[in-house]
Amino acid sequence: AQDQALFDHVLRLGDDSLILGQRLGEWCGHAPSVEVDLSLANMALDLIGQATHFLNHAGDIEGHGRDGDALAFHRDVLDFRNCLLVEQPNADFAQTMARQLLFSTWQKMLFDHLIGSSDETIAAVAAKAVKEVTYHQELAAEWVIRLGDGTEESRRRMADGLDWMWRFIPELFEMDEIAVEAARQGVGVDVTVFRADYDARIRAVLAEATLEAPADQRPILGGRRGHHSEHLGHLLAPMQYVPRTYPDAKW
């Protein structure tokens, strides 16, 4: 159905932002410096703001009375539709920055295209958020360059972080039947149109960081259909605990 594709599409957008926002929030109070701590918390806030808009919209499309909070806190792991990249563990700061570079570079290009979405809310959120995402991409690129072109240890950690995250890139550009249908309706976009730009942009950052691009690995897919790594459940448990234990709690 037309609404089903739109709902699934918006859910994917919202879940990407929610899960990465929650992941970055885990750094709060633990980052290498107070400036970095604030940066990561600010990015988390931007992403959770996007998620709020997208998930509220998904709830409206669905029409069963679920709002953004209901979708965020009362769904089980198999019902999440985020890409696998965003649920990967923070590990060290370098791995966190590798994930951020790969995701924010993609999300910036995606939102640049979604500004033209025929769905007014998607277009408005994309137009509003794209400047914030530009900051995320720049911050991540600066750190990848600084760590890659840094000490022997920072370089090794940066290369390891990229190596871990690299296998999740193909999923960002997967065009399954839902993505194809969303693009056909004009609410989504064919993400393959900016794949070459994406690869060029990432390679430019890696070149400046004096890092080699990792070898292409076997792609890991499935997040968009609810097949997640074990890491997502461990992320959701602390996030959902309070609203599930006290379903009517207000603060």
Binding site: N42, D46, G49, A124, A127
Partner: protein, 154 residues
């Protein structure tokens, strides 16, 4: 306020809104910040500054309280995302208040030199692009050596 409302409801509404401070930067009002999009006897339309700004919900509640207290109980508050808010919506008066408060106002287009709000020097450096709230970056002055916030151009 109630008397003003009886005379000219639109002017009365604007007066109420001008009395509502931003919760994070209380020297500027929600009108100075440019987040009030339109005012009619039926509704006030506001727009968020940053997508994830936690002040957004507080602002809506503060406006509601102020409207209720002034006798505008029937006026709805609506939120719109489009067109997106930018720092160009901050009034000149608002920029002056930010500076007097110690926050360097957003730079006009094409301007690159950030002026220290303490001493006026343009010998300044960015410390971090992210600051204590989503709208601010951390800077420091090389002349008076004081740190300060810059309201980010957005």
């Amino acid at each position: 306020m109630v008397a003003a409302a009886a005379l000219d409801p639109i002017a009365g509404l604007w007066a109420v809104l001008e009395s509502v401070p931003d919760p994070e930067i209380p020297v500027v009002s929600v009108v100075d910040l440019g987040i009030v999009r339109s005012v009619s006897p039926e509704r006030v339309v506001i727009t968020p500054t940053y997508t994830g700004c936690p002040a957004t919900q507080v602002i809506e509640r503060d406006i509601r309280d102020a409207l209720d207290a002034a006798g505008y109980r029937g006026v709805r508050i609506e939120t719109t995302l489009s067109p997106p808010w930018t720092t160009d919506w901050i009034s000149e008066a608002g920029k002056g208040k930010l500076k007097a408060y110690g926050i360097a106002p957003p730079l006009p287009a094409g301007e690159r030199a950030v002026e220290c709000p303490q001493c006026g020097s343009t010998q300044t450096d960015e410390v971090s692009r992210f600051g204590s709230t989503p709208c601010k970056a951390q800077w420091r002055c090389r002349d008076c050596l004081e740190p300060f916030d810059l309201f980010k151009c957005h």
